[in-house]
């Protein structure tokens, strides 16, 4: 009998057609709509907690409130004071954890792989601003929240990490929440985007994270 590898499932049910890639059950749907929503849960999510000004903080380089892609294509998000969220392509978990483990820090550092404990959604398109304005009290204008901004706030009454991560000059946001709220967040955003013609796009590694360089 052939050996069967486990298949990971997002808390957000995939829109048909469904396929398996990267070890995850994902939607294979493609769209050409200007406003798109993608379940990016298959991305590796590493949560790092360390002192605000220690060795890990210096190595990660990104302060609270900002997000930046490093040279290996890992999106480093300064998600809280002394807290970072590292987003990496599927399968890069061990490598990403090891790189943080190697950093010397005088204070206690905690590194936790929350890939399967959280949900991650990406909204892309210029009208993402109007969509988010319906469900979040933050000012999404370029002056207040330019590309590379990260913050945690209430989105559709749910505590959510929001990262502005534009792709090829097109406005794009990543939204990160607890796994059990994933379907709710996805549905809320999809509903809010209905009037702007939002469409679901299946997970694609190359589109979920910006490429380095």
């Amino acid at each position: 009998m052939a050996e069967r590898a486990p298949i990971a499932r997002s808390p957000i049910s995939p829109a048909p057609p469904v396929t398996v890639e990267y070890g995850w059950e994902i939607s294979a749907r493609r769209t050409s709509a200007d406003l798109r929503i993608m379940d990016c849960t298959p991305l590796v999510k590493i949560l790092v907690r360390a002192s605000i000004d220690g060795g890990v903080a210096r190595a990660l380089e990104v302060p609270f409130g900002r997000a930046a892609c490093d040279e290996r294509g890992v999106l480093v998000v300064g998600s809280g004071p002394g807290e970072w969220l590292l987003l990496a392509p599927p399968g890069a978990g061990t490598e990403t954890v090891r790189r943080v483990e190697e950093v010397r820090d005088r204070e206690i550092v905690s590194i936790l792989d929350v890939t399967h404990g959280r949900a991650l959604v990406r909204i892309s398109g210029e009208e993402a601003v109007d969509l988010l304005a319906k469900v979040c009290g933050i000012d999404f204008s370029d002056e207040v929240t330019p590309d590379g901004t990260a913050f945690r706030s209430s989105v559709a009454k749910l505590t959510t990490d929001v990262v502005r991560d534009d792709q090829d000059g097109v406005r794009s946001y990543l939204l990160h929440c607890e796994r059990s709220f994933g379907q709710y967040l996805f549905d809320s955003l999809h509903d809010a985007g209905d009037e702007f013609g939002i469409e679901i796009e299946g997970f694609a590694g190359s589109k979920a994270l910006s490429q380095p360089g």
């Binding site: 809280g80 004071p81 009290g137 945690r152 706030s153 209430s154």
Partner: protein, 85 residues
Amino acid sequence: MILIPCPWCGPRNVSEFRYADEAKVRPDPNATTPERWRTYLYMRDNPAGWTTEKWFHRAGCRRYFTLERDTVSNAVRAAEASREV
């Protein structure tokens, strides 16, 4: 709506926060008397006017901080050294 000035996140809607008591110094449990400990746990000054409070940014940075609030008008202002609780 009350806008709470979080020292980490900036002004946010009060619904993102949790009130976490009047700001006061916790007595050393090994040196205090039962009366002082009980006062610390249960007694509040509850003034009409400006008071110094601890707040928790539940839906944001998840930090405790110090805030000044007028209990009559609900006006708020950042406390000095607001990041220290």
